[in-house]
Amino acid sequence: MIELDAVEKVYETGRKRTVALAGVSLRIAPGEYVAVMGPSGSGKSTLLHLAGALDLPTAGQVRINGRSTTEMSDDERAMARRMEIGFVFQFFNLLPTLTLEQNVALPMLLAGHRLRSSRSQVSALLERVGLGARHSALPDELSGGEMQRAAIARALVAEPEMILADEPTGNLDSGTGQEIIRLFGELAQHNGRTVVIVTHDAAVAAHAQRVIRLRDGQVESDRSS
């Protein structure tokens, strides 16, 4: 479960003060499929970063499964990202010199597991995202859609409860984007995972159970379908 309680996030660059989030409170229950929408600069990505323990709020509390990220140590936040949260980024963020298999296994490798011990799990995930035959390919050899599917497999490898995705279709053509969205839908519906997707695309949001709209760092609307 993710809870945001009166969260504020302010970026200060020199004398310039930018308020990204201004008192946002919300609760995302386990198994929910949530789309976060809003215009550029509305605070969508900031919200996702705070919810994923990538960043800390300037004020207020962000709780992941009841634990406040502010009160966690840096290592505890890293552990939360590794085991409880799976991230999918707009630009895939695969390591270019690792094979697909190794990229997917990265969270497990960081946890000290040998690739050998995670191999069956990784293979199953690659099969599931349709990349079973490409496990030894390098990212450069993949298409955008394949890379994003690999990134989703990586987000799932540690079997996290929550998947957070930042514009996962933003860099893909519409056909491939649809494919990825279908994959997220399956994760939410059949695996009971919490999925939070930041998107500009109404078609993507249409698949979500709940749509949160942000404007100027505040929740403008929060509707469940």
């Binding site: 990505s45 970063h49 085991m83 980024f89 094979t99």
Partner: protein, 847 residues
């Protein structure tokens, strides 16, 4: 260039301010290279100036000197005084021990009435110089010397030399100027007759100093002088000092050039990353109409701007380092030559100009390639914040570097190894070899890392793999860093390898030819090795009379001009010397007898380095200048001897006495009948001899230890440079790691986002540092061994004729391994700090 200057405040300056750490590292590397050059130049210049000032102070207005082999007869003075337009003054100038103060003084024996016409002495208060002439037991000393040792007027001053030990009274004090300021003020002036007594040279002077009042007087004097006398310009330098300075300069120059090359690599690394980081910004400039040459000039202006504070810092560091190096140089020179105070630091004008100019050249050369890449950033890349494409471009061109490196390396190697190459070019050859290695290594590394990366991906832990990946991903940056570190470390291995080789050869030689147990010397093993005072030969008989003494052999050491250099003439009592060796079974009795017979017959021995330097073989004849005229000697044997780097000539002392009219000895070697009596003999001899003159009785082990210490001290001069070179190496690794963090922030951000802890990222960096350190250590050892075993011996053989078998300096290899580890870990501190402040969100947002 104008565009670069115009754009600099708006484009470069904000970037440099943002990347303070990296700009500081590039600045520091240039500053250190400037510092090394300038410190060495200042040390060299100050040493020469100190010596010149000292000589100038001693010589005063003297233009010419008359010599006659060793010493001059009074007839030369008479002839000079009878020549119109000539002012002449006889001088005895030698070292004497003032044991009560633990110092060696340069004694000036003068005839004041004559000397006052060529030199100026200014006494404190009223001093009647005739008193010194009337009383042979009076001396005059400089005011500063008296103050330093608490000597007052009327105090006694004990001096000992060839003639024995004498007690003088300090009758006057001199102002610290003119001759009183020479040799760091460690001077005692006495009448010439007193000096003749002290140095046992009755009726002889060391030289006659000449001042000419008319330009033609010199020719007139030369025409009048009897045969055998030499009228020559007053020496303003010492050939021995010149030799040692040349050696010091060689080591220093080699270290400086390597440091400059290393500095160049560091600058290249920094600028190439800055180009990568600013690719988007540069593309925007290009999109807005900036021409390639504008971008190019922008980077060159940056290099120039960095050079200004780097030069200021470099010169500041140079002044600090030079102070330390001068102390070491002074100690070395005084051991080798004579007592000269090098307390004052003179900064030659060229240090202020050439130092910064070298820094500028280094910075510009390091910038050129990266600036060229910057100028090629396509305008279409505007808006992109990543320079990955640019890096690929650079990597794809590495083979060109390799192609350039092969002929460069071959020519440099040929240049360094060719026997006819002048010293400076040999050193330049060394530096160019390092440069070609730096050029060749990136492509070699690229080829090597492709298969290695596949293996590492399969077998290494993720942190170690990522470290390996970082190292392998940017072969140019990595290999230049490895060469940087290796270059610094190789100096340690090379210097140590040469030292060990020399030490081992010299130790073996000492073991072979030192058959004595005790040696009586006027040198307490703390002052000069090559200019100790001599003492009378009567001592030989006295020592031999002791029933515990098996044999005693006297030796006279003098320096002799030969073939434009200064060689050592070692006159030994051949019979007891080889008798001692035969008794200790170092040579067969028959061999010893044959050698003694040859030497007594007037033949000579020459050292192996002498034979190599002057192309002399057994049976050849060697002509030597002696007081009675030039003498010819047949070379009986060529022997191993490491006493003097410009060659040693050995002859029987009876032959020397006849030819050089010198009966004194420099040391006396004693062999005990029973080794168990050595200690007792040492203390008895010390007691007996010290009662009459200032002599020390040393054990063989102490002399050997002293020899080794001298050698180490000499090489220690390079310590300051090596220290600076290691700092440069550390700066190089720190620079690369920092670049690694900054250049891969996106990757680090991603790994952090998927759950890597700070500790894991730090482990990646430490592993990367250790990988660089290990590679640097391995290459450093290889380069050091190549220099010590391959290049340096050629150079040393050419300079001194010495050839040593290579000795692997294992202790230095261990030291280098530890140093590489420490440097790598220390260098990783800065990037680790950067990781602590790492912003994951910002990093993953980059594209």
């Amino acid at each position: 260039m104008i565009a670069g200057v115009t754009l600099f405040p708006h484009v470069s300056w904000p970037y440099l301010r943002r990347r303070k750490g990296r700009a500081a590292l590039a600045l520091l590397s240039v500053a250190l290279a400037v510092a090394l050059f300038a410190a060495i130049r200042i040390t060299d210049y100050s040493t020469v100036r100190a010596f010149e000032q000292s000589t100038q102070a001693l010589l005063g207005a003297v233009q010419l000197i008359i010599t006659h082999g060793i010493g001059t007869e009074p007839e030369a003075l008479e002839v000079a005084e009878q020549t119109p337009g000539v002012r002449a003054a006889p001088v005895i100038q030698r070292a004497a021990n003032a044991a009560q103060f633990g110092i060696t003084l340069t004694v000036l024996g003068i005839d004041y009435a004559r000397d006052a016409r060529v030199r100026s002495y200014r006494a404190i208060g009223e001093f009647d110089w005739t008193r010194m002439w009337l009383d042979r037991r009076t001396v005059v000393i400089p005011q500063a010397l008296a103050a330093r040792h608490g000597i007052n007027l009327g105090d006694p001053l004990l001096l000992s030399a060839d003639g024995g030990e004498f007690r003088y009274t300090v009758a006057g004090l001199l102002r610290d100027e003119g001759p009183a300021a020479a040799m760091g003020g460690r001077v005692a002036v006495m009448s010439i007759s007193a000096a003749q007594e002290l140095f046992a040279t009755p009726e002889r002077f060391d030289r006659v100093d000449i001042v000419l009042d008319t330009p033609t007087a010199g020719d007139a004097l030369r025409a009048r002088l009897p045969a055998g006398y030499v009228l020559e310009p007053a020496p303003r330098s010492s050939p021995i000092l010149d030799y040692f300075l040349a050696q010091m300069r060689t080591i220093s120059l080699a270290v400086t050039l390597v440091a400059l090359t290393i500095g160049l690599f560091i600058v290249y690394n920094s600028v190439s990353l800055s180009v990568t980081e600013r690719a988007g910004e540069l593309a925007t400039l290009r999109a807005l109409g900036a021409r390639r040459k504008d971008v190019w000039s922008l980077f060159l202006v940056e290099a120039c701007v960095i050079c200004v504070p780097a030069s200021v810092l470099g010169m500041g560091l140079a002044l600090l380092a030079a102070r330390q190096m001068l102390r070491q140089a002074a100690a070395n020179m005084n051991v080798m030559v004579q007592t000269v105070d090098i307390t004052r630091m003179w900064v030659p004008p060229d240090a202020w100009t050439v130092g910064p100019a070298l820094g500028l050249v280094t910075a510009l050369a390091g910038t050129l390639t990266a600036a060229r890449a910057a100028a090629r950033v396509p305008p279409a890349a505007a808006g992109s914040r990543s320079g990955a494409a640019l890096l690929t471009l650079q990597t794809s061109r590495l083979w060109r570097w390799l192609i350039a490196a092969v002929p460069l390396g071959a020519v440099s190697l040929a240049l360094a190894l060719h026997p006819a190459t002048p010293r400076l070019l040999t050193i330049v050859g060394f530096a160019l070899i390092v440069l070609s290695l730096g050029l060749a290594l990136p492509q070699l590394m690229l080829w090597l890392t492709i298969p290695l990366r596949t293996l590492a991906r399969r077998w290494l832990q993720i942190e170690t793999y990522l470290a390996f990946d970082n190292v392998a991903k940017y072969p140019a940056r990595t290999s230049l860093t490895v060469v940087t570190l290796a270059g610094s470390l190789s100096i340690v291995v090379a210097v140590s390898g040469m030292l060990r080789a020399f030490e081992q050869a010299a130790t073996r030689w000492m073991d072979d030819v030192f058959a004595f147990d005790l040696s009586v010397q006027s040198n307490p093993l703390t002052t000069t090795a090559y200019s100790g005072t001599a003492f009378p030969e009567d001592l030989i008989a006295e020592v031999t009379a002791d029933p515990r003494v098996a044999d005693a052999s006297g030796a006279r050491v003098v320096f002799q001009p030969y073939a434009g250099r200064t060689v050592m003439l070692l006159a030994i009592d051949a019979e007891p010397f080889w008798g001692m060796l035969a008794r200790r079974q170092r040579i067969s009795s028959d061999d010893a007898r044959a050698l003694v017979s040859e030497l007594k017959g007037g033949a000579i021995l020459v050292s192996r380095n002498f034979a190599r330097l002057y192309g002399v073989r057994e049976g050849d004849s060697v002509r030597l200048a002696a007081p009675g005229g030039t003498r010819e000697f047949i070379v009986a044997r060529i022997t191993e001897d490491y006493s003097w780097p410009l060659g040693v000539i050995g002859m029987d002392r009876e032959v020397y006495k006849t030819g050089w009219h010198d009966r004194s000895i420099t040391y006396l070697d004693v062999q005990a009948r029973d080794p168990s009596q050595i200690d007792a003999l040492q203390s008895d001899l010390t007691r007996r001899l010290r009662g009459r003159m200032l002599l020390w009785v040393h054990k063989l082990a102490d002399i050997k230890a002293y020899g080794s210490a001298l050698l180490r001290d000499w090489f220690r001069l390079a310590d300051a440079q090596i220290g600076l070179a290691l700092v440069i190496g550390a700066v190089g690794v720190a620079n690369t790691l920092l670049i690694s963090v900054m250049g891969q922030s996106r990757q680090i951000g991603l790994i952090r986002a998927v759950g890597a802890t700070r500790g894991q990222i730090q482990r990646v960096l430490v592993s990367e540092a250790l990988l660089l350190g290990a590679a640097g250590a391995v290459l450093g050892v290889l380069m050091g061994v190549a220099v010590a075993a391959g290049l340096a011996p050629v150079f040393i053989a050419r300079e001194s004729g010495y050839r040593f078998p290579f000795v692997m300096p294992w202790s230095s290899v261990g030291l280098v391994a530890v140093a590489a580890l420490v440097i790598a870990l220390a260098a990783s501190l800065l990037p680790i700090r950067a990781v602590r402040r790492f912003d994951i969100v910002r990093a993953i947002a980059m594209e």
